[in-house]
Amino acid sequence: MTPILNAQGLCKKFGAVTAAWGISISVEPDTVVGLIGTNGAGKTTFVNMVTGYLKPDAGNIHFKGQDVTALHPRQITRLGICRSFQIPQLYDSLTVLENVVVALGIVLHNSKRSWWARSPKIVPAYGTPLMVAAEMMLDRFGLRSYRTSRARVLPEGVRKLLDIAMALAVKPEMLILDEPTSGVSTDEKFGIMDTVMSAARSEGVTVLFVEHDMEIVSRYSKRVIAFYEGRILADGAPAHVLGDPDVRKYVVGGQVAALSTSKETTRA
């Protein structure tokens, strides 16, 4: 199967700090990959390079066979990669509904190139008018009760959810989540991940997510890639990577021991 994402030999330096030393990653379509590593290991730099926010010093990135290395984030989004942010990027003065409407509006705008398209037009890929599609999205992500609340006043977990929902609104083929559960209370974490994953996976979206919570990583990912000081330390099935001694030493810390035993019983 041709990989949906193929990054080869990515190198990136910020002054004296090397965030990427020849990173090569190839991702199959319709899978879930967890990216782990300590802060500064290069995970977010990798994500930023894939999504066009940063340009690698060397190496290239191909998405669905097309070279996207030099493209602008806007162009990359239009090709089918969308991301969520560590700090949720929302339209704070607008309500949750309005946030989603703007997102869907952009989808409409991009697909039809019709500047003057008014709300009643049908949003492609949803098959319904804009407002109906917006309400559908709210339901899908459990945001209905926050419909008329301004984004500014939302609790952190809901902000994260809305941020991810907007990324999914674009109907990407690949979704990249940057620390989807950081800053979210423990009881909310799984709720968010369950909602996001079911929404994404039901449409065959390939998901990459950066995480620090190893429980989340082991439960939701089919493959884990561990970063350390700009290099890939390990790459493979979650149990294998999380049990790897180097990974345990440099990335995970002691908690893995407890995890790998409980995982045997909980994993499907």
Binding site: Y53, F85, Q86, I87, Q89
Partner: protein, 298 residues
């Protein structure tokens, strides 16, 4: 050849004037991230105060050469009174708001000050040309120039050097550089940023007032004389890079020389040439010639 020399000298004289006006503006922006639209009004305040003091001084028969001291006194008074009054009385409550909000606040301040000047000094013109003519003339390159212009160049250069030295060599200057660089971290490290803001704004006001005071003997001091200053100062500061002292010097030099060339060869485009230079620089160097590095946002 004489034409070129004349052009250069006129250019340098004008550049010095531009520099002294722009210096205060860029200092205040560099430290406080405020673009002070009332800068021209402070300049006008300096001119009016100078006119009053010099008029009083000479009117009471005091030593004529000491009237230059009155120019300096005028600038200091305006700086020490208007500066803290504005910073403590108004700006202090606006810190943390968007920089465009602060721009509008200073715009409101400009409107208020313009009328305050009219209320205090009336609408008639003031003339204090004695200091201008008193030093006589000097010949240079076959042309006659008032010595006063040399004074202008000297003061301008001195102000620039003094400010740069303070920033680089004194203890407080280095702290100020830290504040310019990053306000939050400076605060976290115990630097009394509030006091620095007060001092900076006062010095910036004084510099604007010096510009006005120095100009007073060369023009008729009338209401509205400061209105075009903000535009010129901004053009200079933008060419050099907002917040950059050497940038202001370079900007003043470039704009001054271009304007001088325009005046000599095609006077209709005088104003146009200044803004054209600014627009051109911005097209190729969007943040000015000495621009600060951009911080990563996400």
């Amino acid at each position: 050849m004489r034409e070129v020399v004349a052009l250069l000298i006129d250019g340098i004289i004008y550049s010095s004037w531009l520099f002294i006006i722009a210096l205060g503006l860029t200092l205040i922006y560099g430290v406080m991230k405020i673009l002070n639209m009332a800068h021209g009004s402070l300049y006008a305040l300096g001119a009016y105060m100078a006119a009053t003091l010099v008029g009083y001084w000479l009117g009471h028969g005091h030593a004529p050469y000491a009237s230059y001291g009155m120019l300096a006194v005028a600038a200091v008074i305006v700086g020490l009174v208007a500066g803290p009054l504005i910073e403590r009385g108004l700006l202090r409550f606006m810190y943390g708001r968007d920089e465009i909000v602060l721009l509008l606040v200073t715009y409101a301040l400009f409107l208020i000050l313009e009328d305050v000047i009219k209320l205090i000094w009336g609408v008639d013109a003031y003339y204090v040309s004695e200091p201008y003519g008193m030093l006589g003339n000097v010949e240079f390159g076959g042309l006659i120039y008032p010595v006063y212009n040399v004074v202008l160049i000297a003061v301008s250069a001195a102000a620039g050097v003094a400010l740069a030295s303070v920033l680089r060599y004194t203890h407080h200057g280095k702290l100020l550089s830290a504040v310019i660089h990053d306000r939050e971290i400076s605060m976290a490290m115990g630097i009394n940023v509030a006091r620095f803001y007060l001092v900076t704004f006062t010095i910036g006001t004084m510099l604007a007032a010096i510009g006005g005071a120095l100009t007073a003997p060369t023009v008729s001091v009338v209401p509205g004389m400061g209105v075009q200053v903000i535009v010129l100062a901004f053009a200079v500061v933008v060419v050099g890079g907002l917040g950059s002292l050497p940038g202001a010097a370079l900007g003043a030099l470039i704009v001054g020389l271009v304007r001088s060339a325009a005046v000599h060869y095609l006077p209709q485009v005088e104003l146009f040439s200044i803004y054209a230079v600014m627009a051109l620089v911005l097209i190729f160097r969007p943040k000015g010639l000495f621009a600060a590095a951009e911080v990563r946002k996400i």
